[in-house]
Symmetry: C2
Subunit: 375 residues, 2 copies
């Protein structure tokens, strides 16, 4: 994303947030202000990964609908924030990337005003659900109003709606998987499906396809981008699963105990359930009181049993397959750079080294990648 | 609502639900099917009160955009379902009108498959949040696609979005009020504001105004309908508060203990906090273990302290003021009938008798009112 694009997207996000602030007119209660203010703060400071992907795709494919691309890019960021705050409700996460999540922040405020812990938590969860609703609607509305021809808007809205349906299914499956038996190849297959539906679709396929639709790309290009988006997105999610257990807390901003304490059925855990380490590992998972020593033991078992290496390999396979697909489909060079950039960000996020395919002449773009990982 | 309208609205609701079922295409997980199926069932069997209000307003104001009116009416029903299922998550309600709520039904299914109570509940809540998201988006999309001219659609979408912002504020305030001190005139004022924002706006003002916008009504008519919708909606909510404590469980389908056990800060309770009954009443409220004897004692205190009569009077004042406003603004006779019908339904819902203002020649319409209350 160029600096000009970056500024344009930030400006558009701020415009949409300001619009939301005055949306209901004067109200006799302070709650709308508090709610939208919290949502606006939750939208702050992201890496704008999805807008960047959209704008890169649009530009690389020769798109000329710059204003619309910026508007839709901003909408995707609101969508992302909306999904994040509701995900924090669903997962009961009071903290996100080292700072209070929206539900956590509202709950903490209520605690300071004297509410009991359960009541405060309930208020935070209500706020997360409702702020998410408003964010989703604002995102959809922004797309409906973007400066593109009506048929393009119609396709963008179809894409938005279909993506949201699949993402919701992935999110629900993610919770459901925690309830079932934690072992076997079915779980592993389902964990990969969750990675695709919950993450790859809205974070990778959606921005790529939206940028391509705005650039009037051919059906072949759209199909190629779907394939690549899916591969990259699953790869990203697999690395994220690894980070959730092996990550450096100071860098990821989230506890490396959380996933283990929650007993999250990631692909990592699903794989472990097929190994000899399982009998020793299983009793450590899903324990609220898991301490650092127990977590270390779990990590050792995941490593010695080969699950860590297996997931790393699978993640790498996905991102390198994405790069190969980009080459095979003969995508425009600019788009290949953008995709390599996304790949580099994913790998950097994973804090793992792998020779990236970013060409030498993409150095300036690559520097930008150093600034951060998808957030 | 005429029988033809009723069929048209049902058909359109079913069409939108079918559309949603295939929205994400083939997915590798069963969760989308389960989620949308649950949402579809939650949409079943409502009294279609909001569609009826919209179609009546549209018709009475001489509107000729029948297909669009039916489409938007169906959208309002999806919106209603979406808000209901998320409200059930926020309030932790496992039962609604005598049957399992969406979160309650999903949780019960999970229990049957062997999940623990907390995990099952979490799955139900996730499903409620996500189904609500999809319903909201489907509703907005249906409006965006309705067969009305673009400027009318734009105004309808503005209305939809503004209403949702205000409703979210009302919903959040409803939860927040439970956390603060339970007494004083501030709480009473806020409880009335919640009744307006959480209920009156989306259930009364929105359908009336949407019908009027589709009929190209004048700004004066729109303003009159806003006033009337607000009065009717607050009146409805006040009667609903009374029902929550004094209602016949077999008729309301919800426990008359729930609001007391939850310690819900309704206008009824807020008023009681300003009376001499408060010292005796307060210890009974918000107790999970409140039994029928305790509830009877609470009801007696609310009655002897004058709070029940006060809220009844206030509710009646709101609905009769709505009727007066309809007369003062010289609304078309058909619209006055529709509003009287809504009033009659509210009063019937409240199971209280009050001479209604439905004119004699509206008898067939009135019979329709016997079929049910806003649901």
């Amino acid at each position: 994303m160029t600096t000009a694009h970056q500024h344009a997207v930030e400006g558009e996000i701020q415009r949409l947030l300001s619009l939301g602030a005055t949306r209901p007119g004067a109200l006799p209660l302070p709650d709308h202000h508090d709610l939208w203010d919290a949502f606006s703060r939750a939208s702050d400071g992201g890496k704008r990964f999805r807008p960047s992907l959209l704008l890169s795709a649009h530009q690389a494919l020769g798109g000329t609908r710059e204003p619309a691309a910026v508007q839709v890019a901003a909408a995707l960021e609101l969508l992302h924030t909306a999904l994040v705050v509701q995900d924090d409700v669903i997962d009961g996460d009071q903290v996100r990337r080292g700072v209070p999540s929206l539900p956590g922040g509202i709950a903490a405020d209520a605690r300071r005003r004297g509410a009991g812990p359960a009541e405060a938590r309930r208020l935070g969860e209500a706020a997360g659900i409702l702020a998410g609703d408003l964010g989703l609607i604002a995102a959809m509305r922004a797309i409906a109003r973007c400066e593109a021809p009506a048929p393009v808007i119609e396709r963008l809205l179809d894409l938005f709606e279909s993506t949201l349906h699949a993402t919701a299914a992935g999110e629900l499956a993610d919770v459901r998987l925690q309830l079932g038996p934690a072992h076997g190849s079915v779980v592993l297959r389902e964990a990969l499906a969750v990675a695709e539906l919950k993450t790859a679709l809205y974070s990778f396929q959606l921005p790529l396809r939206a940028g391509a639709l705005l650039a009037d790309a051919s059906p072949e290009v759209l199909a190629a981008l779907d394939e690549i988006g899916s591969l990259l997105g699953i790869g990203f999610q697999l690395f994220d699963d690894l980070l959730g257990v092996f990550g450096d807390e100071r860098r990821t901003g989230k506890s490396a105990l959380g996933d283990l304490r929650e007993g999250k059925r990631t692909a990592l855990i699903a794989h472990a359930s097929t190994t000899d380490s399982w009998d020793a590992l299983q009793p450590l998972l899903g324990r609220e009181d898991l301490d650092e020593a127990g977590a270390r033991r779990a990590r050792d078992l995941l490593t010695s049993g080969g699950s860590r290496a297996w997931v790393e390999d699978l993640a790498r396979w996905h991102v390198t397959s994405a790069a190969e697909a980009a080459e095979r489909h003969e995508l425009p060079p600019g788009l290949a750079v953008a995709l390599d950039l996304a790949t580099a960000e994913i790998l950097r996020a994973a804090d793992l080294t792998l020779p990236t395919t970013v060409p030498a002449d993409a150095a300036p773009v690559r520097r930008r990648a150093e600034e951060g990982l998808p957030a």
